[in-house]
């Protein structure tokens, strides 16, 4: 298994290809390709734009003014209202999401890196069997695990706790899969031997030598697990009753479900949705190069 090389942006290969074709492609096909993509860019981005515009409007303007453009700028007031709602409940939701998704993915990445490294760098009995069982875990979707986890946690009376959502968020079989590929490709045996000759133990060699070489890969694993946890809706839905423990997705879902009875909550839902996705969108775009690597590795069989 090999890791996909990232495209060389300024590589001579691509540049040459670009030059070659720009002569060959007619302006008509270039224009129609561009038009096609612009139309779909609209499809993908208009809802987000709408959400942003809607977040800046007062309740009255929401239905009476142009949905795609600003009227009276009320974003600050809207955000203030949302944060004040039930003594800052929204902020607890955000904090909970960061705990479940962020801390969960952080610890989970370390565990996955250790396991993947062990599977890549040591030969031991049942290694392939263990790896295949973990790989099977990749095919088990989060939703299929939610109910069994609920049954198990209720057996030990631990539903409706932080732990009931946090602990399952630590496990990422896909992370182990990626970590194994990366460890095999990016940690040379010679460096480990050198560390061993220096008297470093195996565990120390991992933490001092290997983990640094696996750095970019670990960011990728973290991202995947973060998103997986952040999007996991079924698990908190079945586990949690206490609104104080909700992640932001479940909290907004609960608010949204009450809109028919309490229309004044609509602005909260809109502004809350915007605030919850802005950091994610920014992080996604900033870290896009890591996505590319991870997706490439996933695609190589």
């Amino acid at each position: 298994m090999t890791i996909t090389k990232r495209p060389q942006r300024s590589g001579t290969r691509r540049a040459a290809a670009d030059k070659g074709i720009s002569i060959r492609e007619g302006p008509l096909s270039r224009a129609s390709a561009l038009l096609f993509m612009v139309v779909f860019a609209g499809y993908f981005l208009v809802p987000v734009w709408w959400l942003f515009v809607a977040s800046t409007k007062g309740t009255g303007d929401l239905t009476t003014t142009n949905p795609m453009w600003f009227s009276d700028m009320q974003l600050g007031a809207n955000v203030g209202d949302l944060l004040a709602y039930r003594d800052g409940l929204y902020l607890s939701w955000i904090a909970n999401s960061l705990l479940y998704a962020g801390v969960g993915a952080l610890v989970g990445t370390l565990l996955a890196a250790m396991a993947g490294y062990a599977l890549a760098k040591y030969v031991f009995p049942m290694r392939e069997l263990i790896f295949n069982v973990i790989l099977g875990g990749v095919l088990v979707p989060a939703t299929a695990l939610a109910l069994p986890l609920f049954l198990l946690f209720s057996e030990v009376d631990q539903t409706n706790t932080y732990w009931s959502v946090f602990l399952p968020s630590l496990v990422s079989p896909f992370g182990v899969y990626l970590a194994r590929i990366y460890a095999a490709a990016s940690v040379p045996e010679e460096l480990l031997e050198a560390a061993r000759l220096d008297g470093a133990g195996e565990i120390r060699a991992f933490f001092v030598v290997a983990i640094r070489l696996m750095g970019p890969a670990l960011v990728t694993i973290f991202l995947f697990q973060f998103v997986y946890n952040w999007n996991n809706f079924f698990l908190p839905l079945v586990m949690l009753q206490d609104q104080e423990l909700f992640p932001v997705t479940l909290g907004l879902y609960a608010l949204n479900s009450q809109i028919t009875q309490a229309p004044e909550l609509r602005t909260f839902v809109i502004v809350g949705a915007l605030l919850s996705i802005v950091p994610l969108v920014v992080a996604f775009l900033a870290l896009q190069r890591f996505w590319q690597t991870g997706l490439g590795a996933g695609g190589v069989k």
Binding site: R13, Y43, W50, L250, L295
Partner: protein, 295 residues
């Protein structure tokens, strides 16, 4: 390992255990044990002696499974997601493939902008995306009011496709990136021969690029099939804005509804059936397409 003598072997055993066990323990606790426990629960049934007798949980064999397969609402929900998948997955992957090929071709400018822009929806969690599109579909808030005033996107016959639109919106860019990453990994030299032959962009794409990246396309298809059978978040959110989505609209919603009754044994049985169906379907698809792709 060639240099592994007896002593180093023992040392490594400790290291292997130390590196593997933290993940292994959690994996066992939160993956394997729950699955096993669900299977166990699915073979139990609650019995009462007479109308007022105390409920007693006893071994029921395949009783719950018989119930699962005679449950019309559940079977209807399976049919619904299959119909959903047959339409939505090809549309989404077809679009993703076209986008990826365009990004990889030389006909298109502004590639970076499109690549990032199309990927943005993937950063929006399913719940939020469904809430957002819920507003988009509502006649009085939607920026497409000329359309939403004419078509009721939340009515019984249309809402399935409105949900399909939400999942397409979220995942097309993601699948595009997977396919695009595969295209980028193909050595440029492979296209040289085609260029010499005078093959245009379109022919190169169709007869050279697509076959080469077939494994990546299959991968996206398998993940999409899994996702479709597990459909839950989006329709669950839509339940609060339309009555057209019943509490047993998708298999996973049936699991959820059954477990809130609560009938955990039946819900566990449905979960097991669903997990097996997912596994069998994606495995079969993988085998089938691989044979066709490589024969």
């Amino acid at each position: 390992m060639p240099s592994a003598g007896r002593r180093t072997r023992v040392q490594h055993k400790g290291a292997i255990a130390g590196l593997l066990l933290p993940f292994g323990t959690l994996f066992a606790l939160f993956y394997l044990v729950p699955i096993g426990y669900a299977v166990y629960q699915s073979f139990l049934t609650v019995e009462r002696e007479g109308t007022f007798g105390a409920p007693e949980t006893v071994f029921g064999g395949f009783e719950q499974y018989v119930r699962v397969f005679s449950d019309e609402a559940f079977l209807a929900s399976i049919g619904r997601v299959l119909l959903f998948g047959i339409v939505q997955v090809p549309v989404m992957l077809g679009l993703a493939l076209v986008f990826a090929l365009l990004l990889d071709s030389t006909v298109l400018g502004l590639k970076r902008v499109f690549r990032l822009g199309f990927f943005v929806p993937y950063a929006v969690p399913g719940v939020i995306a469904a809430i957002m599109w819920g507003f988009m579909y509502s006649p009085n808030l939607s920026p497409f009011s000329w359309l939403t005033e004419r078509i009721d996107f939340l009515s019984g016959s249309v809402v399935l496709w409105s949900i399909a639109n939400v999942t397409t919106w979220i995942y097309t860019g993601y699948n595009m990136l997977i396919i695009y990453a595969a295209l980028q990994a193909v050595p440029q030299e492979i296209y040289e021969a085609a260029k010499v032959d005078g093959a245009g962009n379109f022919r190169t794409a169709w007869s050279i690029k697509v076959p080469i990246i077939m494994p990546a396309i299959i991968l996206t298809a398998v993940f999409s099939i899994i996702g479709t059978l597990q459909l839950f978040t989006e329709p669950q959110v839509f339940r609060s804005i339309t009555t057209a989505v019943s509490s047993t609209y998708t298999p996973n919603m049936t699991v959820y509804t059954t477990s809130t009754v609560p009938n955990f044994n039946l819900a566990a049985a449905i979960s097991v059936v669903l997990a097996l169906a997912t596994f069998v379907l994606s495995f079969t698809f993988l085998k089938f397409t691989q044979r066709r792709a490589f024969e």
